[in-house]
Symmetry: none
Subunit: 215 residues, 4 copies
DNA sequence: CATGAATGAGTTTTCATTCAT
DNA sequence: CATGAATGAAAACTCATTCAT
């Protein structure tokens, strides 16, 4: 008795087909957001029938969850593979390196980025509930890696507090950027908007998060 | 004799009815955001006909603008009336006082808060254009007040930078709170979520925004 | 006991007011046609309330009938006052003169003309039934005048046949002109379109389509 | 194997269903004209859902174009199949024959006739633009046939003038008939109304309105 | 298993008509 | 008598989801 029977129908498809479908769905969600995204267009773009799409994912909402999960899998996989930042011991410098990697990942995958930003916006829908279950362990693992080897002795914040702060910063920048950039934006626009804010934030963080130099 | 003749049809309704309609619309916009809000549901909830709703507001977009304007008017009016914070000269302490007033205003008006949070993220729609015209002068006036009498000589940030930072903080907290609290949330939840973050932020700001003491 | 009690409420209004209302209605019907004409706009343009408009005319349809009647009254009155054409004894020449007078009447009253043309188009509605009752006697009277003194001895058609032919010509030109000119048209456009066709028609009326046998 | 894959969804339906839908739409357009025709009523009458109707035809406008195209296809196909009139060399006699065939076609299809009459008068809408593209080549082909073998040497009109005249006659009769017959009319009524006018018209076309001068 | 035609409740908006004041 | 706020049926059109083939 194989225990794959509980698995999604979708997962039994060939990798190529899975990727094709995911790609089509991501593009559509990125283009239009959850509500306005058309499952019809997705099916057409993926070259499958509407019927099949709803066989693979029982509803639009579930599809959304899977799409986001797929993106996160992709992203965390990438970040994990780039761990040269671990050599940098200063936490702020390490943060800058990770941010840079994040850019370089999303630069070629703008659609993924758009979908993720939209998720935050469309928070309400209880989609989020289902997402968190999957999201959190991955995030926890990532944080574990990020902080490994960091010396907290000269920091005024605990690791937990630093994470909380980091989340806030992400949210802040994403949201503000999202409301500044109108719908259509290039990754260049995006990076410019980021740079605009990150300098200030880092300056504030620097003179705040470290213990006051004595004397 | 005021010349109300040119005023909106809506404004001629009894205060009770105006409030009933506004309330219904706010609840619906809070629940679903601009795009998904249903004018049908609003009319039904307000106990008026679809026809009447569109007599009062010529389109869904205009309705949205008026609703938000209504909320802001309400909010800024309240904040303005509470200006004891001006006595506090330290900017961070002053910020805390203002934030506290903000809480106490929105505590009883969770829906207003939700609508405003959504506005920020629905940037795209050209509704925003019309909103900005009305919004910005009010915001500018508010900032003018907030900074009056503040001594910048011991601050490492310009007023402009401070505003930018403040905006980021607002966005950060709003967004994170929004995605943390699922749809239905009490103002207690909200305040708890805020407190959770504000303490940390203020601590970081404190040791960062002031010039390093020499010696 | 005055017998005005059966009369329309409308007819008891001052001549000035009647004219003001009629004018507003005509302009609106001319602008938009029966279906799309807005009774709201009429009332507003006439400076009366919607309620009053529907007191004066029990429905939009009845209003339409009255408006058309008003126009025809106006037109037939004018044509009657210009009877110099009676001096011309040749029927075709007389017809040309009358056509010319028709132009000169409508040139200053394009809206009246538009309404009349539209009536023909929107034939179906049983508005027509009610109209005919009023229309026909006036038309009969007009025809009586038109033919007075005409020598039928050299005509191959009876008076009745000539009238039938005349009607056909009017319909033909109006309809074709209407479908050629797109909604918005000046009286110049209109006259040009007419001239374009009338020459041919007169030639055929005069001689038929075959060449005259020589000799 | 014809490559029908690019064809309309509508064309893939069973002939019976296509006919049922077309019939319902034609009846509705005939009843109410383009603007007032209700797509809801059409769907209901055809026994299909609103959704399906808009799957088959992407908009009301497109539906209208297709309906008219359908009628014209039908009509021109019929006329083409009946070309015995080509044996008649006199143009007026040939015209009579064609007119007779036209009757016999529309006798059983009154609604088709009504729709076509309405099209002519609803000139304004830019629907017409799309229609002309399809209509004109068919009409041109038909005229080409009609005049083939006709001797113009004894005609006082050019072919172009004759066509213009013919159009006028069509418009005249259609319009007058339309306004005479109120909404509901049988094809018998129609033919009677036609006969009533055509005899006169042909007489005038032949000789003009004046008696022939004695030689 | 895959398909895609069919569905119908839903959307925003309009406007002739009524009726309480 | 005059008013004009209120009504609600109707319009064209969309789209996630189902189910017979």
């Amino acid at each position: 008795m194989p225990k794959t029977q509980e698995k999604h129908l979708f997962n039994r498809l060939s990798a190529e087909k899975q990727e094709r479908i995911m790609h089509a769905c991501i593009e559509e969600f990125a283009r239009a957001g959850y509500i306005n995204a058309s499952t019809n267009k997705m099916a057409k773009a993926a070259g499958i029938s509407k019927g099949s799409l709803f066989k693979y994912f029982s509803s639009k909402k579930e599809l959304y969850v899977e799409v986001i999960d797929h993106i996160l899998e992709d992203f965390f996989g990438y970040v994990q593979s780039k761990d040269h930042y671990l050599e940098e011991k200063d936490i702020l410098e390490r943060l800058k390196l990770v941010t840079k990697e994040t850019y370089s990942f999303f630069r070629k995958k703008t659609s993924l980025f758009k979908v993720l930003m939209r998720v935050k916006t469309e928070g309400k829908m209880n989609v989020m509930e289902q997402l968190k279950e999957r999201w959190e362990p991955k995030v926890a693992f990532f944080y574990g890696r990020f902080f490994s080897g960091v010396d907290f002795s000269n920091l005024a914040l605990t690791q937990e507090e630093f994470i909380k702060l980091w989340n806030l910063i992400d949210y802040a920048i994403d949201s503000e950027v999202l409301s500044e950039l109108n719908g259509e934006f290039s990754m260049d626009d995006l990076e410019a908007a980021y740079e605009n804010r990150l300098g200030l934030i880092h300056r504030v963080l620097k003179n705040g998060i470290y213990k006051k130099e004595k004397k």
